[in-house]
Each structure stands twice: as C-alpha cells, then as structure tokens.
Amino acid sequence: MQPKRVLVALAGTSADPDVIRLVASIAKPARASVIGIHVIEVRWNLPLDAVMEPELDRGEQLLESAKKVADQVGISLETELLQAREAAAAIIDTAVERKCDLIVVAMPFRKRLGRVYIGRTVQNVYVNAPCAVLAYRQEQNA
C-alpha cells in the first residue's frame, strides 16, 4: 500500500514517539503527507466548545513533542487539535474530510482483568473507519 495522506491519532501516551517513527517508515518512501491529531474528549455536562485549559495545554504540548520527533525522523507533521464528545468519531471524520487513506492509531500495552485491553477509541476507529487502519500496540515491556 502506498498511502498519499496519513492521519495519526496521538493520545499523549508513551506509544506516541513509536507510532510517529512507524508512520515515518511508511510515509517517507510513499512521499505521503502526515497529519497528527489529538482529540480532547468533552464530557456531556459541558458545551462542546468549552475551553478546557489544562487539556488544551496538554494537547499542545503533546503535539509539539510529536512535531519534534517527526523533525528528528525527517517527516513534516501537520498537527491539529480537536474537541469532540467521542474521539473515535472525530478521528474518522477528520480522516474523511482530509481525504486520508490511512489512519494510524496507537495504544500502550495495558491489561485489564488479566487480558490485553484495547480501548474503545481504537476499537471504534478500527470498526468504523472507511479507509485503511493500522493499529500499533506497544510491546509489553516498553
């Protein structure tokens, strides 16, 4: 697969740098453009466009860090900060709107009740995205 536009969803976990390196290995040979997004999930008791300063700051910081990693691995990362009720829907909608042909989502290795746990955002993107989806799970001891 030779994607032309890749969307990478960044959650601010330890998996973010890994997934950017992974995306670089895909996007560089294909000369694809890369969009990094972070979605702030807004609780239902708040208006959708509520200003959540700590979350905004965190989002900006993690996108800045992602840009730095992207610079190091030699790709140009366009970043975007979103607010939505549910992250997965915003990721998919953005991918559709920006005509992305690949969504890359990442998750750290997590266990719940003795089983590897995949969060609802990754699951929903995986199930509902119309384009190709690549889910990266960090190794156990990362």
Partner: protein, 690 residues
C-alpha cells in the same frame, strides 16, 4: 493553513485561536477544530497568553549556536518564579556577601605595615595597636549595620537610609560612593589575589594585568549564572581559607607560646631598616587608614538583605556577626604573629606578609603553606564577588528609582542583573589595567567611598530614631551616633592621609556621579511628564486619515506593495520619485502613467545625485503645507541572506534613520522579502529588476 480550512475573514481581528465547529458524518458527531499555532510557544486563551521558554528559542543556525554557547556559559534560562529559590541562607550568604571583608584580613595587616615601614623597622611596633583600633571600628560598624538591616529589611543599605533621612542628594552621595567602592573592590581584590599567587609563583608577576582581566571576566560569567550558583561555587574556597588560616594561627600561636620559633622568612626586597621618613602622627594615621581597608565589604550585607532566605533580616544579621567575628580573629591573629615573629613587608610587593608568615610557621615546602596560599589567592579573587553582588543590586535599586538607566533593573535569563554585572566587570578591568594591577596603588582609592556611605547611613539612622522615637530609641541613637562619630573620623583620616596618593580622584568622582545620576533622573521625570495621561485624556484620541508620502525609487513589486499599503491607510496618498536627470525623470513619468494609478506623483530632480537630502526637503515642504502628521511609507527590499545586504544601497534604511528624530512624522516600513508574492498578481514587467 490547510486547503480544507474555512478561510479567515480578512476583516477579523487577528487571533491566536480560532474554533471551527464541524458537523461530522452522523448526528451527534459534531466536533470542534481548534486552530492554534502549534509550536508558537504561547499558552493560554481568550486574549491572555503566557510566553513559554519555547518563544525564546532562536530560529537561525547562528542564533541557535549562540544560544547553545550561552547555555553552556551561563546556564539554562530560569522562570521568574524561581527567584525565591535563588535566595541564599547564612552558610551560602557568608561566602557571597562576606568574602570581601573576610578576605581583607589577608592583606590589611600588610597594608598598615607597609606605611609604618617607611619610618623604619622599629615603627612596625605600632601595627598591633592599629589592628586593635581597626577591630574596634569594625565592632562599631557591625553593630550599626545590624541596625540598618533591621530598619531597612528590603535592602538598599546606605543609599536608602541616607535618602530617606537626609534627602535625595545625600542618598546619591552614598550611592555614588558605594558604586565607586564596589568597582574598586573588584579591582583591588583581583590585584591582591594575583599578588598572593605570584608570592609562590613569581614568574607570573609580569602578567598580573592580563591574568587579572581574565579573572574578572571569569567572575562576571560566574555571576551571570545567578546568585545561588555563584554562592555554591564560591563557598568552598571561603571556608577553605577560614580553615587554613585557623590552622596557621593555632600552630603559630602554639609555637610562640612554647618558644619554638623557627627562622624568620625575609622579604625579597626589604624596606630600608632605618626608614626614609620620620615617624609622625600623620604616618600612623596613614597606616591606620590603610589598615581600615579591612573594613570594606561590611556594607554589602546590609545592601543585599533581599538576597537572603526568609527571615531575611535575621539571616543577614547572623551573617554580619559571623563575618565580623571571623575577620577580627584572623586579622588580630595574623597581626599578633607578624609583629611577634618580626615579619617585615616586601617593598616590591612580590611576596606578601601572609606568605612570609605562613612560610615561617610551617615551612615553604609544607602542603599547608600551599593550601593557605592557594586558598588565600582564591578568596581574594572571590572577594571581588562581593562587588559583583553589591554593585548590580544597588544599581537596580537606583534604576528603579530612575537614577540609573532602566537596563540596570532588568533581570537576565538567570535572574541576575546582567547589565550591572557587565558594566562592573568592564569598569574594574579598566581600572586594574590603568593601575598596572598594583594593590598598593589601588588601595588609596579604596575605603573612602565605604566610610562616606557608612557615615551618611549612621547619621541618617540617628535622625530616623529621633523622628520615630519608638521602643529602645535612646539605645539605638547612642549606637548609631557612636557609629557616625567613629566612621566619620575614619573618613576624615582616610581622606586627609590618602588625598595626595589618589583619594582626590574618588572625591572628585563622587560629585560627578551624583550630577550624572541626577541628570538621568531629570530626563526620566521629563519623559514621564510628557507621557503621563491626565484624567481628561483617558479616551483614545480620534485622528483623521493622515497625509501619506510614498517615496518610490522604481516601479517594482516592492514599490507597488508600499503604494497599496499606503492606500489602505489613507485616501490622501502622494508618491514621490527623486531622479538624478531630466531623462530618467521623464522615463519614470511615462512608466507611472502606464501603471494607471490615480495616486498623484511628484518628481524631484536632483542634479547633484543626492537622494535622501532632497527627499527630506520635499517632506519638510509638504509638512509646512499640511497640519496633519506626515506619514512616510517606505518600501524596503529584504534580501534572502544577510550577505546580500551589501549588494543593495539601503536607501530606505538611510531615510528611516534620517526621519527617526523628525517631529510630526510617522515612518512606516513595508518590507518586501524576496520570497513574497502577496496579492500582487504577476504581470508584464513595468521596470527593470532590482
């Protein structure tokens, strides 16, 4: 901005954050796109932003290299909130603020002996009584300064006390005296430090000036790193000196007590044993004045009270008492041993009395000798640090009171007063060079300033206690009145005995600096009077569209951009072109007509080929015919690389410089970068290229 984003309305006020609500594919999938300039380094929202450290990051390669070098040299930039952490306790405050005074014990004995030695070896018997007199004065000073600290816990020391109680002029006299003294502290301490080094490495003696200048630079850099870090770096040598001197004094006193006195070290070039001048009262007073050099530095603690951790005043007083006790013990011990053992000073300043005494007591090959000499050299150098702590702080207080340029009050990246540190370093290096790095030549200039400041602050406190008459005022008045009398007497003695030796320079400089500080204050007061908004002017004035002049050298993209901008500012725009010949004027006129603009053009012919002068005269003429402020819009071509600047005539820059101080004139620079295309659609060329 991506292609899909909704375009920003050109009439919108520029904003750092835009929020665009998107529908999403399903009902309930609405989301908000927050358009923020990621990586700008600005955090916040709603018109209130905080600049993070990222905004300070240099963008160019050269800028990054410079920033990296600065980072290594003076350290990482500190947040303003770290100011409290930059404060010091007693244990760190002692080396930072008291090293000057403590280190004076290394050479105060010698300075008194050198004067007495002029009258012959027999006159050295007066060294011990003089030392006792100096310690007596120090005790009075310490007691009085502790009152200053308690009365003025926010620092400012003698300047603030004198200003509040005697008036502005007295305050400025105290400040000027202290500023001079801080510069001399750095110069004298550095010279004394190098003298201590050359005592055991005489081959370095001819290079004392360049070494001194280098060491001052090193101290300056150390202080640019911030007070706390400087204190940590300087703590060990100060304590090493105290321990080393304590060991020498204990061994020396033990040897004197048991009578095991080794052979006495002789100076390389002794004074004439018979003497070259008679022993007079004036000579004894001169010796006392020279010995009083040991009292310098005791004012630094009162000036630097805000440098201490809470409770600031208490910590400062403890440090002051410790400083006085340590100085008195070492100074009296050294003087006692030097006179008991019969140590004589060296006429050529190659070996110090301290070195000869240590050599006598423990031997020239003993590790303790090297330890003491080395720690002495280091503490003498670090004593200069007291100047680096005091001068910038006092200068910042003066700058806040608008008696010194504002830059002195600005804190640098490490929360140090960088301008004060740099100015002090430069001045001290100049003085050190001018006096050839000689301690003996510099000392006469020293101490006058500090005693003048002491006298003013002590007498100021007397007036304060008299005015306030609060609890214990009688005891306070008695202490400070005694301080006034003692420090005033020492001031007169020092001024009279050292006048011809160089003190006149300081006495001349003080009124000059006072006048300068006063003139600076008058300027700031005038500026404030001119700028301050009165009650009736609280609203923004409503101005009409200005008369705009656009000097156009060529009809090119840069020129068109400037004209377009001028038109957006005012409907009343006039273009002016300076031409060096009639032919080129006609040619320009034809091109202007081809441009098809309704902006009127004036052409000024300049047969003497000058561009700027005729243009300025033209602006003058327009200004006289129009009451409105003249707005000059300049188009300036900005090349891609710095070296390409040399390929352009920089007429806009010269014009900008000429118009900078012209009244009633607004200058707007419209830069045209070589990569700019703006909204100017490319068309057929109207004029030759740049």
């Amino acid at each position: 901005m991506s292609a899909e984003e909704p375009p920003q309305n050109p009439n919108d006020t520029p904003s750092l954050e835009r929020r665009v609500t998107r529908a999403g594919r399903h009902v309930g999938d609405r989301y908000v796109r927050i358009v923020r300039p990621i990586g700008s380094g600005l955090r916040g929202h709603g018109g209130h932003y905080v600049a993070t450290e990222q905004t300070m990051a240099a963008s160019g390669r050269l800028g990054r290299a410079w920033q990296g070098a600065l980072g290594v040299l003076i350290g990482k930039r500190l947040h303003s909130e770290a100011e409290a952490e930059e404060r010091v306790g007693v244990e760190t405050g002692l080396p930072i603020l008291a090293s000057d005074n403590i280190s004076s014990s290394a050479y105060a004995t010698e300075e008194a002996m050198r004067i007495l030695a002029i009258a012959g070896a027999g006159a050295l018997i007066f060294t011990m009584p003089i030392a006792l007199a100096v310690v007596f004065v120090l005790a009075i000073v310490v007691l009085s300064e502790s009152r200053v600290i308690r009365a003025y816990p926010n620092g400012g020391g003698s300047y603030l006390v004198a200003r509040e109680n005697h008036g502005v002029i007295a305050g400025l006299v105290a400040a000027s005296a202290l500023l001079i003294d801080y510069v001399l502290t750095v110069a004298v301490s550095t010279a004394a430090g190098i003298a201590a080094i050359s005592s055991f490495a005489p081959e370095l003696h001819p290079f004392r000036v360049p070494i001194g200048v280098g060491l001052i630079a090193l101290l300056g850099v150390g202080n640019l790193r911030g007070v706390r870090e400087a204190g940590i770096a300087f703590a060990a040598p100060t304590y090493a000196y105290i321990v080393g001197m304590a060991a020498i004094l204990l061994i020396g006193l033990g040897r004197v007590y048991v009578g095991a006195i080794p052979p006495i070290a002789q100076p390389p070039h002794p004074f004439d044993p018979v003497g070259t001048a008679p022993l007079t009262v004036l000579l004894i007073l001169r010796a006392f004045a020279s010995g009083s050099v040991g009292l310098t530095g005791s004012e630094a603690i009162a000036n630097g009270v805000p440098s201490f951790k809470k409770p600031e005043a208490r910590n400062a007083v403890i440090t002051l008492l410790l400083m006085g006790s340590i100085f008195a013990s070492i100074f009296l011990g050294l003087t006692f041993l030097a006179t008991q053992l019969g140590i004589a000073p060296d006429a050529d300043e190659i070996e110090t009395v301290n070195s000869m005494l240590t050599r006598t007591i423990v031997g020239a090959t003993s590790p303790l000798y090297f330890f003491v000499q080395f720690s002495t050299a280091i503490i003498l150098l670090l004593a200069a640090n007291t100047g680096f702590t005091g001068f910038p702080r006092l200068a910042s207080v003066l700058a806040n009171d608008r008696f010194m340029p504002r830059h002195f009050a600005d804190m640098g990246s490490r929360l140090a007063f960088n301008t004060g540190i740099i100015v002090l370093g430069v001045l001290a290096a100049i003085i050190l060079t001018a006096f050839g790095g000689s301690v003996n030549a510099l000392v006469p200039l020293y101490t006058i300033g500090v005693f003048l400041a002491f006298t003013l602050s002590q007498s100021g406190l007397v007036r304060r206690w008299w005015r306030l008459r609060n609890k214990g005022w009688r005891a306070s008045i008695a202490i400070n009145a005694l301080g006034t009398v003692v420090t005033g007497t020492v001031l007169v003695v020092v001024a009279v005995t050292k006048f011809q030796l160089g003190a006149w320079m300081v006495l001349l400089l003080i009124p000059l600096i006072v006048a300068l500080l006063y003139a600076i204050n008058r300027h700031y007061t005038n500026v404030q009077d001119a700028l301050v908004i009165t009650g009736g002017e609280q609203r923004l004035p409503i101005l009409g569209a200005p008369a705009v002049i656009v000097p156009v050298a060529r009809i090119d993209r840069a020129g068109l951009q400037a004209l377009a901008f001028a038109r957006s500012v005012s409907p009343d725009v006039k273009a002016v072109h300076v031409s060096t010949s009639t032919e080129s004027a006609n040619e320009f006129q034809r091109r202007w007509q081809r441009l098809g603009t309704d902006i009127p053009l004036d052409i000024v012919e300049s047969p003497f080929r000058s561009l700027v002068a005729p243009l300025l005269k033209y602006i003058d003429a327009i200004d006289k015919s129009d009451d409105r402020p003249i707005t000059v819009v300049l188009s300036e071509f900005v090349p891609r690389h710095w070296w390409e600047w040399f390929l352009h005539s920089q007429t806009a820059m010269r014009l900008k410089a000429s118009l900078l101080f012209r009244p009633n004139t607004i200058v707007i620079d419209v830069p045209y970068h070589s990569s700019d295309t703006g909204d100017l659609a490319p068309g057929p060329p109207l004029d030759s290229a740049h």
